[in-house]
C-alpha cells in the first residue's frame, strides 16, 4: 500500500486461524477484530436473521466473562467495543489504548468457543431484535430496500435483509441459534485483524498463544446457491404514510473478485460520486456527479446516490433517489435511463476518468488516520476477496480504461437485469405533500 506505511503481515495458525496485522504508530491506539465467514448469505428460509441474532448473543456472556463483564472490562479500560453482521460476514471489534488491547484478544478467543446461549437470555434478546427491526421499519427507505432485495434475488440468500424476516425472528429457537454458532464459530472460519501501535512479532506471538489451543471445527457448509439468470425487469411498489416518494434501481452486479468490479466502481464514482474504500459510507460531496446534476440540480429530487458493495457473490448495483413530491415519476425514470444509456453509448472522457481516480485517492488518504477504518477495510477485503484486493485497491482503479467502463455499462446496466422499486405515499399520507 501507498503512504509509506508498514506492510500487512499474514500468518496462519495450525488450527486454521488467519492473522492479519499492520503496525501504525501515529496514535497510541490499537484496534482488534475477529471476522467470521458467516452472514445472511449463509441463512436459509425459516432461519433468516440467525447470524445477526447470534452476534447479539455473543454479548450475553461466557463462563470466563459472564454477562455484563466483557463490556465493563472494555469500557473501564477506555475502549469501544461492538460488532456488525452483514451479507457475507460477522465482525467483532474493540479499539483501545494500545497497551490495553490484550483484554479484547482474550474476550474474542473466549467467546469464539464458549458463549453461553442461556435460554432466558435468548428470549430476552428476541424482543430486543424485534425492537431493532421495528426501528428500521420506521423508515420507508428500509421497507423499500427490503422489497427490492427480495424481488432481485429469487434463490440466493441475498434475498433477505441481514436482520431477517419477522416471522423467523418469532419462531427461531435457542437450539437453532446455538447450532448456527457451533457450525460457524471456529478458528478455521475466522480472521483476526490487528491494526495499531504494536510490534508485529509480539502481536502475532500473543495471538498464537491465546488462540493456538482452540480446536478447529469441521469445514463449514458451502453456500451452493447460484442465482438464476434474470430474464426481465422486475418491479415492486410499496405504499405508506410518509409523504416523500422514493425510487430504487438495483442492477445485478459483479462480485468483488470479478475483474468487472473495478470498471463498475469507476462508473459509480462518475454517476453518483466518489466513495472511500468502505462499505459504510465515507464519501465526500458529489455535486459534480452526473446523477446529482441531472436529478438534484435538475429539480427532480432531494437527493440521489449510487452504490456498489464488494461482496462474495454477485450482489446489486443500486441507485437511490429521494424524489421531490411534484416530480413526474415516468419523467424521473426516463432521465435516469438516459444517464445510464450515456455510459453505454459513449466512453467517459479522460478528464472524468482522471477525476474519479484522484477523488478515490483522496478519500483513501482521509481514511488512513483511523485505525478502526483500516481494520475494517483489511477484514472486509479478506472476507470478500483477498488481502491483496485491499493492498492493490488504488492500482486496480488506476488501471481502468474508458472502454472498460463502457463495456460494463453495456453488460450490467441493462433493463433485463434490474429491479425497480417505488415507495409511493398513499392517499392521505401524513402532512400531505405540500403541493
Amino acid at each position: 500500500m501507498r503512504s509509506g506505511d508498514s506492510e500487512i503481515h499474514r500468518t496462519t495458525l495450525d488450527n486454521g486461524l488467519t492473522i492479519l496485522t499492520r503496525e501504525l504508530h501515529h496514535a497510541p491506539v490499537t484496534t482488534f477484530w475477529v471476522w467470521y465467514r458467516v452472514g445472511s448469505r449463509n441463512e436459509l428460509p425459516g432461519r433468516t436473521g440467525i447470524s445477526h441474532w447470534v452476534e447479539h448473543m455473543m454479548f450475553k456472556g461466557t463462563s470466563q466473562f459472564p454477562k455484563g463483564v466483557m463490556d465493563r472490562e472494555i469500557s473501564r479500560l477506555g475502549g469501544t467495543f461492538n460488532a456488525m453482521t452483514w451479507l457475507d460476514f460477522t465482525a467483532y471489534y474493540a479499539t483501545l489504548p494500545a497497551d490495553r488491547i490484550e483484554i479484547a484478544m482474550r474476550i474474542e478467543a473466549d467467546r469464539m468457543v464458549g458463549a453461553a446461549f442461556e435460554p432466558s437470555e435468548t428470549e430476552a434478546e428476541r424482543t430486543v431484535i424485534l425492537s431493532e427491526l421495528h426501528m428500521y421499519e420506521g423508515y420507508p427507505s428500509f421497507r423499500l430496500a427490503q422489497e427490492v432485495q427480495a424481488a432481485a434475488f429469487q434463490l440466493h440468500p441475498y434475498h433477505h435483509e441481514t436482520i431477517g424476516w419477522e416471522s423467523d425472528l418469532l419462531t427461531m429457537t435457542r437450539d437453532d441459534l446455538f447450532n448456527h454458532y457451533r457450525t460457524y464459530y471456529a478458528p478455521n472460519n475466522a480472521i483476526v485483524v490487528a491494526v495499531g501501535n504494536f510490534q508485529t512479532g509480539e502481536m502475532v506471538d500473543r495471538v498464537a498463544e491465546i488462540y493456538g489451543s482452540l480446536a478447529p471445527g469441521p469445514a463449514v457448509p458451502p453456500v451452493q446457491f447460484n442465482e438464476p439468470m434474470q430474464r426481465g425487469e422486475r418491479r415492486v411498489t410499496i405504499q405508506g404514510r410518509e409523504p416523500t416518494p422514493l425510487l430504487a434501481y438495483a442492477y445485478k452486479a459483479p462480485a468483488a473478485t470479478d475483474p468487472d468490479f473495478w470498471p463498475l466502481a469507476v462508473l459509480d464514482s462518475i454517476l453518483g460520486g466518489a466513495k472511500g474504500a468502505s462499505i459504510f459510507g465515507g464519501g465526500g460531496s458529489s455535486r459534480t456527479s452526473r446523477l446529482y446534476r441531472r436529478l438534484v440540480d435538475g429539480g427532480l429530487a432531494v437527493s440521489a446516490s449510487s452504490g456498489l458493495l464488494p461482496t462474495i457473490d454477485p450482489y446489486l448495483y443500486s441507485v437511490d433517489v429521494m424524489v421531490l413530491p411534484a416530480t413526474d415519476r415516468d419523467e424521473l425514470e426516463r432521465v435516469i435511463n438516459e444517464e445510464i444509456s450515456r455510459f453505454q453509448e459513449q466512453p467517459v472522457t479522460e478528464e472524468e476518468l482522471a477525476r474519479a481516480k484522484k477523488q478515490t485517492r483522496a478519500h483513501y488518504a482521509f481514511g488512513l488516520d483511523s485505525m478502526s477504518n483500516q481494520g475494517r477495510w483489511l477484514g472486509l477485503s479478506s472476507i470478500v476477496a483477498t488481502t491483496d484486493w485491499f493492498v492493490n485497491y488504488l492500482d486496480s482503479l488506476e488501471a481502468v480504461t474508458a472502454s472498460q467502463v463502457q463495456s460494463v455499462a453495456q453488460r450490467y446496466l441493462v433493463p433485463t437485469k434490474r429491479t425497480v422499486g417505488w415507495y409511493i405515499p398513499e392517499n392521505g399520507a401524513n402532512n400531505g405533500s405540500g403541493q
Partner: protein, 431 residues
C-alpha cells in the same frame, strides 16, 4: 517526527495560536501521519439570531453559501472542490455556524480560498434558493414522520418556553421556510456573518506556522461587523411545576420513541464534569449504563436505551431515550425513572464510579485518533474557553469527582415530579 510528540495530547506545547485584529482566533496542530489536512471553524451566528417567524433562516443561509460567490459560480466551486477529492461544508446550528474542510495537504491553499469566499462573499442565486427550499421543505415533512425526531421536537417545545432559542427548531417549519425571501437571507448574512468571535483550527500535514500564515492571509482583512454579535449564551429556564407528558401521534409506525428528562446547565457550568460523569453511569458506560442494563439487557424492551447531556452555551437537556413497542412505553419510562432517582439518592459504589471515570479519561486517545477528532476537540477547548491545558488536567479533574458529587448533581438536575416525558408513536395511549 518522533513518536512521543505525535502521541502527546493537544496542549499549549504543540498548538500554535494567533489572534487577529478583527477578532478571529486561529489555531494549528501538525500531524504528518497521512497526507491530509482538516480545517474546522465556527462563526458566532445561528438560529438564536433569527425570530421564530423566520425559523430556518440561519440554517438556510448557511446551506446557500456554497451556491455561488462573487468570484466563483456554483459549477466552478463544485468543480474546484470535487476535482481534487476535497470537501467543504457549512452548516448552521443554534449558537454557531460551523465550517469543515478536508483536502490533501497540497490542495489546502486552494480549498481555504474557496471556503473563505463562501463565508464572506456569497451571492445567494435565486434559482438555488428555490431549489434548496424545495429540498428543505420535503425534508421537514419527512421528519414529521420520524418518531425519534417528533419526540425530540415536542420535548424541546415543552422544556423551553416560547421565545427561548431552544424552543424553536433551527431547521424551522415547512411554513416558515416557505416564507423566507432572498432579501431575508442576504440581510441576515450581511448583519450577522462576521469575524468577531470566529475560530478556525487546522490540523494535518502542514507546518503549523504556515497554516496560521495562510489563515491570516485569507481571513485577516475580514472587516468586523458594525454591530458585533449580541449575547451568545442562551438564558436559563424554569422547570415545570409538575410532570409534563407529551404524546405525539405518528400513524403507521410499529414503534414508539421516548425522550424523557429536563433542561440543565451550560457547558461552562462548574457542575458540568460531575454531570457528565453521572450521565456516564446512568446511560453510557458499557452497553448504555444502568438504563441500558435495565431496559435493554434485563427486560429486553428496546434495541437502544441510553442517556445523554447536550450542554453548549445554554441550559442543555439531560435526557434518557429509548425506542420501544407502544405497549411497553410505561414500563420503560418507569425503569428509566427508577434508575435516575437511584442516582440522586444512593451513592454510586467506588468500583462503579471508578469504571466510569476510567472510561471517560482513558478513551481520550480514541477521540483524538483522527485529525477530525483533534480539530473538533481544539475547537471546543477554544470556544468554551476551557484552557489549552484542559486535556492535560482532564484526568486529574475527573478523578477528583466524589460519589457524593455525582449523587448531588443527579438529585439537583433531575426531579421525577417535574420531568418532561415526550413520546411519539403510532397511537396515543389511554392514560
Amino acid at each position: 517526527m518522533d513518536e512521543t510528540h505525535q502521541h502527546s495530547l493537544p496542549s499549549e506545547e504543540n498548538i500554535a495560536l494567533r489572534r487577529l485584529d478583527n477578532g478571529i482566533l486561529l489555531a494549528a496542530r501538525e500531524n504528518f501521519a497521512s497526507p491530509a489536512v482538516i480545517m474546522a471553524g465556527l462563526l458566532e451566528v445561528g438560529s438564536m439570531d433569527e425570530t421564530p417567524e423566520k425559523g430556518g433562516l440561519a440554517t438556510l443561509t448557511a446551506s446557500l453559501l456554497s451556491r455561488g460567490t462573487e468570484r466563483y459560480d456554483y459549477d466552478t466551486l463544485n468543480d474546484a472542490i470535487e476535482s481534487v477529492g476535497a470537501s467543504v461544508s457549512v452548516w448552521g446550528g443554534t449558537h454557531t455556524t460551523r465550517v469543515a474542510a478536508k483536502s490533501l495537504a497540497e490542495d489546502f491553499p486552494a480549498i481555504l480560498e474557496l471556503a473563505n469566499e463562501m463565508l464572506r462573499h456569497p451571492t445567494f442565486p435565486e434559482e438555488h434558493l428555490e431549489r434548496v427550499r424545495a429540498q428543505r421543505i420535503t425534508g421537514l415533512h419527512e421528519r414529521l414522520n420520524n418518531t425519534r425526531a417528533v419526540a425530540e421536537l415536542a420535548f424541546y417545545q415543552a422544556a423551553y418556553p416560547s421565545g427561548h432559542p431552544y424552543h424553536h427548531d433551527s431547521s424551522g417549519t415547512p411554513e416558515t421556510v416557505a416564507a423566507l425571501t432572498r432579501d431575508d437571507i442576504a440581510a441576515f448574512h450581511r448583519d450577522h456573518f462576521g469575524p468577531q468571535g470566529a475560530i478556525f483550527v487546522v490540523v494535518g500535514a502542514i507546518p503549523k506556522e504556515e497554516a496560521l500564515d495562510r489563515l491570516e492571509a485569507a481571513l485577516g482583512n475580514w472587516e468586523p461587523l458594525p454591530q458585533p454579535p449580541t449575547e451568545r449564551d442562551a438564558p436559563p429556564v424554569e422547570w415545570p411545576d409538575e410532570r409534563v407528558q407529551q404524546y405525539s401521534e405518528v400513524p403507521g409506525k410499529t414503534q414508539s420513541d421516548i425522550l424523557y428528562g429536563l433542561p440543565t446547565i451550560p457547558r461552562k457550568h462548574p457542575d458540568f464534569m460531575a454531570l457528565q460523569l453521572a450521565n456516564t453511569v446512568l446511560g453510557v458506560f458499557g452497553m448504555m449504563g444502568r438504563i441500558g442494563k435495565s431496559v435493554r439487557d434485563e427486560q429486553g424492551l428496546a434495541y437502544y436505551a441510553r442517556s445523554g447531556v447536550s450542554a453548549t452555551r445554554g441550559p442543555g437537556a439531560w435526557t434518557a431515550s429509548a425506542g420501544v413497542s407502544p405497549d411497553k412505553v410505561d414500563q420503560a419510562v418507569q425503569s428509566m425513572r427508577e434508575q435516575w432517582v437511584r442516582m440522586g439518592t444512593e451513592l454510586v459504589s467506588e468500583d462503579e464510579l471508578n469504571d466510569s471515570k476510567t472510561f471517560i479519561t482513558a478513551s481520550l486517545p480514541l477521540r483524538l485518533e483522527t485529525n477530525e477528532g483533534v480539530a473538533r476537540t481544539i475547537l471546543d477547548m477554544l470556544y468554551y474557553d476551557l484552557g489549552l491545558d484542559y486535556l492535560e488536567r482532564y484526568e486529574e479533574r475527573v478523578r477528583a469527582i466524589s460519589a457524593d458529587e455525582v449523587r448531588r448533581v443527579s438529585d439537583t438536575y433531575f426531579d421525577p415530579e417535574r420531568a418532561i416525558l415526550s413520546v411519539a408513536g403510532p397511537a396515543i395511549p389511554q392514560l
